[in-house]
């Protein structure tokens, strides 16, 4: 009995060490990024001989950066909404259902995730022209949405496969039609997966350069702007922009989380 407790504790300590080591690995580059935004030079790197706040204050004075940030956030949110709806629908169709062509359908579902970025971007560009979609915000949202659907499908399917069938059946027995059974039983069960997938999609969209570049108009997304600025060197300015963008997204994220929690409580 004592051995068992010892074992549990040992495991726990080991696992928490791994976790915090991982946090360190993930955060050190981030800390370096924030730090370099204070370097008084046009290039990042050690040693830092003198410090300045100019790069950070400069970001807030730069209307272009701020509007670009808003533009990127809007694209990420819109494309994520589309991806989540479509992806969940496809996952419901594919999971636990046997029909002719299911394998092919699954293959085609994950297709957009497989294609290397540059190829995908060019394929989207050719197809957008074929469909008559003008380059700009709509085109970027569309490309991001399509590209992110497979990730939603995979994550939601994994969760869906563990939903006890008996629950749905019970609901159906009580007279619920399939749509209501889905809304009342399946959907709540899927919420963690859908939330996870949404974060995923937001990240992918916010971070995407190559599709945004090929499908964009004259307004750059944040990564496109950073790429253009990178031509004159990886400067503390870029680090400052990235840091400010990070903080702003975190603030928006926390606010959104609070907001949805409040909404949930009210309903």
């Amino acid at each position: 009995m004592n051995d068992r407790v010892e074992l549990f504790r040992g495991n726990r300590i080991f696992l928490s060490c791994v976790y915090w080591a991982f946090v360190l690995y993930v955060f050190v580059p981030l800390i370096l990024m924030v730090l370099m935004g204070f370097k008084d030079s046009k290039f990042i790197g050690f040693p830092i001989r003198s410090w300045t706040l100019e790069w950070y204050t400069g970001v807030f004075a730069d209307a272009e950066v701020l509007s670009t940030f808003g533009y990127s956030v809007a694209i990420a949110v819109l494309s994520t909404l589309i991806s989540v709806i479509v992806g969940t629908w496809i996952a419901v169709l594919l999971e636990g259902r046997k029909f002719t062509g299911r394998g092919v359908t699954f293959g085609l579902t994950v297709l957009p995730a497989l294609v290397p970025g540059i190829i995908s971007a060019i394929a989207f560009r050719i197809y957008a022209r074929y469909l008559g979609i003008e380059p700009g915000m709509g085109a970027i949202v569309w490309a991001h949405a399509v590209h992110n659907v497979p990730f939603v499908v995979l994550v939601v399917m994994a969760r869906l496969s563990t939903l006890p069938k008996s629950q749905i059946e019970a609901a159906r027995d009580l007279g619920a039609d399939p749509l209501i059974a889905f809304a009342r039983i399946t959907l709540p069960y899927l919420v963690p997966a859908i939330l996870g997938a949404s974060i995923f999609c937001l990240l992918l969209s916010f971070d995407d350069f190559v599709r945004s570049f090929f499908l964009g108009g004259y307004e750059p997304t944040l990564p496109v702007l950073i790429f253009a600025k990178l031509r004159s060197g990886m400067s503390p300015e870029i680090n400052a922009i990235a840091t400010v963008a990070l903080i702003l997204t975190a603030v928006i994220g926390v606010w959104a989380e609070r907001f949805t929690r409040r909404m949930n409580k009210e309903s």
Binding site: V18, F27, V28, M36, L114, I118, P192, G196, I199, D207
Partner: protein, 315 residues
């Protein structure tokens, strides 16, 4: 009784609303019709949105000229594919990419499994989301900025070398950068997220009691993990690995920036056809198709294998 309670809710009211009721009856008249209603939109979406762009690319890969200059006639040809199989210089980056993707996928799994396990099993439910979000924060930073941060971490005057030197452990800097090591550090950073989420959602729904029951029966930690946690999370492992493998084959910026002279990946080869020589789109498209087919075959086999494994465990 059940009817009475459900009548008060939104769903109850919806269910007894005439038009909705009629529509649902129409849609679910037979299992066949119900399936058609469910499948119509996804199939349409997949065909037009997923397949459409790819078919365009496939078409380009089978032509001898694209974009077509005025006055030039476009012919269909298989030559772009033949070029890959006919020239061994393309094989090296191709197989290297598949091997790298496999190795990095495995590394990511090994590194993130304990992290996901800790999150799902040893962190109280209230804090789980917080701890998970903590890990996700750095991924909000764009790939390029993050990659440069890794450069100033691992460079000759980078943070790690600086620390080692200050501690008196080394005299001259260790050249970490532009090796498969620096590339791995950068890539695992990118892939960890894709592995972490499926693993976490698989582990999170494992009932805690199961492990305790096994422990009561005298099973050690390793046995418990191997006999209980692992089989039940194969689903998550399988989708995480699939995801990470697929994404890894397409990485471009990170391997190019962090890799060295002998770590060229296939995405770089493909991009070369679009960057350097603008008239080689068809070859680039063909090579991309080959990469895609290979990755698809590998992941299909992998999924089949995992499925078999799972079924075997269940028996």
């Amino acid at each position: 009784m059940a009817e009475e309670t459900s009548d008060r809710t939104f769903w109850g009211r919806l269910a007894s609303w005439g038009p909705y009721h009629a529509m649902m009856r129409l849609a679910t008249a037979s299992p066949r019709r119900q399936f058609v209603v469910l499948a119509a939109f996804p199939i349409l979406w997949i065909l037009t949105q997923h397949l459409g762009p790819m078919l365009q690319m496939l078409r380009v890969s089978l032509t001898d000229a694209y974009p077509v200059a005025p006055g030039v006639e476009q012919h269909f040809t298989l030559e772009n594919y033949a070029r890959f199989f006919g020239d061994s210089i393309f094989w090296m980056p191709f197989f290297r990419t598949l091997i790298f993707a496999g190795v990095f996928t495995f590394c990511t799994l090994i590194i993130t499994y304990p992290v996901a396990y800790f999150l799902a099993r040893h962190v109280s439910r209230k804090n789980q989301m917080l701890f998970l979000l903590l890990l996700l924060i750095p991924f909000w930073v764009g790939e390029i900025v993050r990659t440069y941060a890794i450069m100033i971490l691992l460079g000759n005057t980078g943070a790690v070398n600086l620390a080692l030197k200050t501690l008196g452990l080394i005299d001259r800097p260790i050249p970490f950068m532009y090796t498969s090591f620096s590339m791995g550090v950068g890539i695992v950073y990118l892939t960890a997220l894709y592995m972490l989420l499926p693993l976490y959602s698989a582990l999170e729904k494992l009932p805690k009691s199961m492990n305790e029951a096994a422990a009561d029966l005298g099973a050690g930690a390793w046995t418990r993990f191997r006999r209980v946690s692992l089989p039940l999370t194969i689903e998550g492992i399988s989708s995480g690995c699939t995801l990470v493998f697929l994404i890894s084959t397409g990485f471009y910026a990170t391997p190019v920036l962090l890799g060295g002279p002998s770590t060229t990946v296939f995405a770089e080869t493909i991009a070369g056809f679009f960057h350097v020589a603008g008239d080689e789109w068809p070859t680039g498209a063909a090579f991309a198709t080959i990469m895609f087919m290979a990755a698809l075959i590998i992941t299909t086999v992998f999924q089949k294998l995992m499925n078999a494994l799972r079924k075997g465990e269940k028996k």
